[in-house]
């Protein structure tokens, strides 16, 4: 079973960078896939990788990370103005960040228009294998 946990922008909005990154990573370490509204800053993304590396152990093998964000080059002037106003008033809520534990998420493939998340297959136990043979 794969568990997704949605993190609203307002849940992390007022946290400092370190707290925000740690909050997300703690959820991932519970073997859940984080779907966060909005995105981290570039520095926070680098911090997330750095902290992930510090946490790596035989049990925790790292993360898969992907950010979906509107392509601003495809937006017209009005959309850009609206986006800028929304950012000033509500914060940068555009886009979505997906972070999953590497032990669950095999890879995340992103093309500009779609995102595909491949999970690892659960190991087949001997019991199940025997059942299939019957």
């Amino acid at each position: 079973m794969v568990t997704f946990q949605f993190v609203q922008y307002q849940d992390v909005e007022k946290l400092g960078s370190a707290m925000r990154v740690n909050k997300l990573l703690n959820i991932v370490k519970e073997n859940k896939i984080v779907l966060m509204e909005g995105r981290l800053t570039k520095q926070e993304e680098a911090d997330l990788i750095e902290i992930t590396m510090q946490e790596i152990s035989p049990k925790f093998k790292g993360i898969e990370l992907s950010v979906v964000y509107p392509d601003k080059s495809k937006q017209d002037a009005m959309q850009k103005i609206k986006g800028s106003f929304a950012k000033v008033l509500l914060g940068d809520r555009q886009g979505m960040t997906i972070i999953g534990p590497a032990s669950v998420v095999k890879r995340i493939e992103k093309n500009p228009d779609k995102i595909e998340l491949f999970t690892k297959e659960a190991p087949v136990t001997n019991k199940r294998y025997r059942k299939k043979k019957r």
Binding site: I49, I56, G62, V67, K110, N111, P112
Partner: protein, 210 residues
């Protein structure tokens, strides 16, 4: 005098217009060919190799620096730089991947531990760079978040970037996909292993160091 030199350095003001000596970093995901490119540069201009290379990821697990590399172009212009070969940046490291490559458990665990430290060092060293060549494997999907995070962090630090799309000798290499992924950057297709198009790469370094 020292005060004014520091002030000019802080203001990034260079009265001669061109930097004469820069710190050039090779960044990118693991197994993109950073160390192969470092070796190519050092072989071409110093006649010696810099780093060991391997098909197994995370062969480079610590920062390596080669000082005073002086290159010349056909117009006689010279550029001197310190070359910094960095460990590949990754979001996951699994010692079991090394076991699959035939390593013993203890060796695999040690390598994984060193690799995690290498990634941390690479990120920390970003602040020391004056120009960066991001080495990408042209046969792989360039839209990975690691690539995007590296590019974003370089952009945020206002560090000039050149993308070297490596392994163009391979049939699967696709330069157009990399150009589509990073349209705002200069991209040069090379094969560091066979020296294909490296002249063009060296010419681009002069542009990068402006």
């Amino acid at each position: 005098m020292g005060f004014f030199q520091n002030l000019l350095k802080k203001l990034k003001f260079n009265p001669f217009g061109r930097k004469t000596h820069i710190k050039l970093g090779l960044y990118g995901p693991p197994n993109g060919g950073k160390s192969t490119l470092a070796n190519r540069i050092c072989q071409d201009w110093l006649g010696e190799e810099m780093s060991s290379v391997s098909h197994v990821a995370h062969e480079t697990r610590e920062i390596k620096i080669k000082e005073q590399i002086n290159i010349k172009n056909q117009k006689g212009k010279e550029l001197t730089f310190s070359l910094v070969d960095t460990p590949g940046i990754a979001t996951k490291i699994d010692y079991e991947d090394f076991l699959k490559r035939g390593m013993k458990k203890g060796v695999a665990k040690k390598r994984a531990k060193e690799a995690t430290k290498g990634v941390i060092d690479s990120i920390k060293w970003l602040d020391n760079m004056e120009a960066v060549v991001v080495v990408l494997d042209a046969t792989k999907d360039p839209y990975s978040q690691v690539n995007i995070t590296i590019m974003g962090n370089l952009q945020a630090r206002k560090i000039p970037v050149l993308i070297a799309a490596n392994k163009t000798d391979l049939k699967k290499a696709n330069l157009d996909v990399i150009k589509a992924a990073f349209p705002q950057y200069d991209i040069v297709g090379i094969s560091a292993k066979y020296g294909k198009n490296v002249e063009d790469f060296y010419e681009q370094l002069f542009k990068l160091a402006k």
